[in-house]
């Protein structure tokens, strides 16, 4: 299910059409015009970057870092190899937007990456694709072949002296590879263990070369920005929150799916678009930005608009735009237990606090959920979390701690009840 309003990435697309992903269909929608214009007008690299800066596009992977600014960090004049890398390792529970981009509109991503390659003076790019969406990986490879054959990729693109090639690389089951330096390690054929920064990828990235990594959605937004102009993209959102954003709505709604809407749209409107609460149940809680974002009670969420600033003000983060909706039947201890299990499974294992801490957190929460909680367990969780967050190479430890903190803060009574009475306050039903 995908509904697109005022689309940028899904501009004019009919996702029900079998061949909507193909080059021909993309070109018919105005695809590759941006690239053609850049090349034919010999647009200056800095002008491309300026346009992206002016669009207000912020990284769609979760951190929301301004994309144009990131591109400007790339040492364009560096004489050796440099790379652009796309992060389609989408595995943050609740996030499923990039899969739709790959299967419905892969050429938008390809064109965006070619433009990025042009703007930053790189000759090669890689798209790292989540292992579990292998069919989309194969489809993306087919799209790359189309682009190569049409002369959009390879040597002397569209007869210019600009050459760029793009390859697909698949993951094979590791959430951590969504972290950009883990992704680079994985792309190099190693375990996906994040690197200590500095140095940052802009100076020491893939194979030790300058590298720019962006999210799928970020790259896929670029052709629109260049073709229709930064202003038009910016106008689609609100100040400091330029453009549209894909929101992946999952959980207890009638129509889970991706919704491309302007940033700043009220949550209540998004909920309505997704068909409202399933079976007319009451909204209990929402995780607004993927499993790593702090959970917010339903009533708080109903006051929020869907943009970086509003969600941050409410105490959570927009993250990757994954909106997980939960109804009144969910026992928050059970829900947290499942997330804690996930982070325990997915810790890469290198940093002590994360390797040991994710296991500890899970075991304590699991014990509480089993009715074997002990007085002091909540304080223990808090303290263990404090020893993890901000003490590791990457943010996975923080991601594991945020849900624990927010669940035990907003729904503390459920935890206390279970510890005291050895049975849950809410008669838990997943669905």
């Amino acid at each position: 299910m995908a509904v697109f309003v005022n689309g940028v990435i899904f501009d004019g697309i009919d996702t029900s059409a079998q061949d909507c992903w193909k080059l021909e269909a993309y070109v018919a929608r105005g695809g590759y015009q941006a690239l053609r214009r850049i090349i034919e007008s010999k647009m200056a690299q800095e002008d491309v970057i300026a346009e992206v800066k002016n669009s207000g596009l912020r990284g769609r992977g979760g951190a929301g870092f301004p994309t144009g600014l990131k591109w400007s960090f790339m040492p364009r004049s560096f004489p050796g190899d440099k790379y652009v890398v796309c992060n389609t390792d989408e595995g943050e529970p609740g996030t499923f937007k990039d899969r739709d981009i790959l299967r419905f509109n892969p050429h938008a991503l390809i064109e965006g990456m070619i433009i990025a390659g042009y703007a930053m003076g790189t000759k090669a790019g890689y798209n790292y694709i989540h292992g579990e969406i292998f069919e989309e990986y194969e489809l993306f490879e087919a799209a790359l072949d189309e682009a190569r054959q049409a002369g959009f990729l390879g040597n002397n693109i569209l007869g210019s002296d600009f050459s760029f090639d793009l390859f697909a690389h698949h993951g094979y089951g590791a959430y951590i590879c969504g972290e950009e330096t883990a992704l680079l390690e994985s792309l190099e054929g190693k375990k996906g263990q994040p690197r200590f920064k500095p140095p940052f990828p802009a100076s020491f990235g893939l194979y030790g070369k300058p590298t720019t990594i962006n999210n799928t959605e970020s790259f896929a937004s670029v052709p629109f920005i260049i073709r229709d102009g930064a202003a038009k993209f910016l106008e689609a959102g609100k100040p400091n929150n330029g453009g549209t954003k894909l929101f992946s709505v999952s959980g207890h709604v009638n129509r889970p799916g991706n919704y491309e809407i302007p940033l700043g749209t009220p949550f209540s409107v998004l909920l309505e678009m997704a068909g409202g609460m399933r079976d007319g149940k009451k909204l209990k809680a929402v995780i607004p930005g993927g499993s790593s974002a702090p959970i917010l009670p339903g009533d708080v969420m109903m006051q929020c608009t869907m943009d970086y600033d509003s969600i941050a003000k409410a105490g959570s983060m927009l993250g990757s735009g994954a909106v997980i909706v939960m109804n009144e039947d969910v026992c928050m201890v059970k829900a947290l237990e499942r997330l804690a299990y996930f982070y325990h499974e997915e810790s890469c294992g290198q940093c002590t606090p994360c390797r040991e801490g994710t296991g500890w957190l899970y075991k304590v929460i699991h014990r509480i959920a089993q009715g074997e909680g002990r007085p002091g367990d909540l304080e223990l969780l808090d303290s263990v979390g404090n020893n993890m967050a901000g003490r590791t190479i990457c943010a996975l430890a923080d991601a594991a701690v945020f849900p624990v903190r927010s669940f035990t803060k907003h729904f503390r009574n459920e935890f206390e009840y279970l510890i005291e009475h050895k049975k849950p306050l809410v008669d838990h039903k997943w669905c």
């Binding site: 579990e132 390859f167 054929g189 499974e345 669905c431």
Partner: protein
């Protein structure tokens, strides 16, 4: 150890990367090796990766065997344990659970008579619980043999899929 077809596929992976970075192809090469073993293997033991094939891949790519082993054990889609002809991995992570992921896993478990993590006695099915597949909107989702994603797996859809596999 691997077929000419698999080696050609590995060579195509190798060609994606700079000449001195063959190591980058290890994930693709292990995947190709696994697919060949799954298709050729007659028993659960023959369908998973083993030390011989990992070492072969490592030598093919000129990397230390232990480095390839690290990769094979780090990424959880590589089958390192005996596996059925059809490996069914159901996502039970939170967003999927809210739309029937856990129920789907329980349904399959009951239907096949195997617990999560087990392989049926006839070596036909292995049922696993998976982590986020990036398709939460299609929940319940499951993967058959890593690469085939099945969406909206209600009990009826599961029945149909299992009948198809049978």
């Amino acid at each position: 150890m691997l077929s000419a077809q698999s080696l050609a596929a590995i060579d195509r992976e190798v060609a994606k990367y700079p000449a001195d970075q063959k190591r980058s192809a290890v994930m693709g090469a292990l995947r190709i090796a696994l697919v060949e073993r799954r298709e050729a293997g007659k028993t659960p033991e023959e369908r998973c990766l083993n030390t011989e094939v990992i070492e072969f891949v490592a030598n093919y790519l000129q990397i230390p065997p232990v480095a390839a082993y690290e990769v094979a054990t780090f990424y959880n889609m590589y089958d390192m344990k005996p596996v059925g002809q059809y490996k069914i991995t159901v996502c039970t992570n939170l967003p999927c659970a809210l739309s029937g992921g856990v129920n789907a896993a329980e349904y399959i478990s009951k239907k096949l008579g195997i617990a999560i993590g087990e392989t049926s006695a006839d070596g036909k099915y292995t049922l696993l619980e998976g982590e986020c597949m990036g398709a939460c909107g299609d929940a319940p989702v499951l993967l058959v043999n890593n690469h085939k994603m099945c969406s909206f797996m209600t009990p009826e859809a599961i029945d149909k899929k299992l009948a198809e596999l049978n």
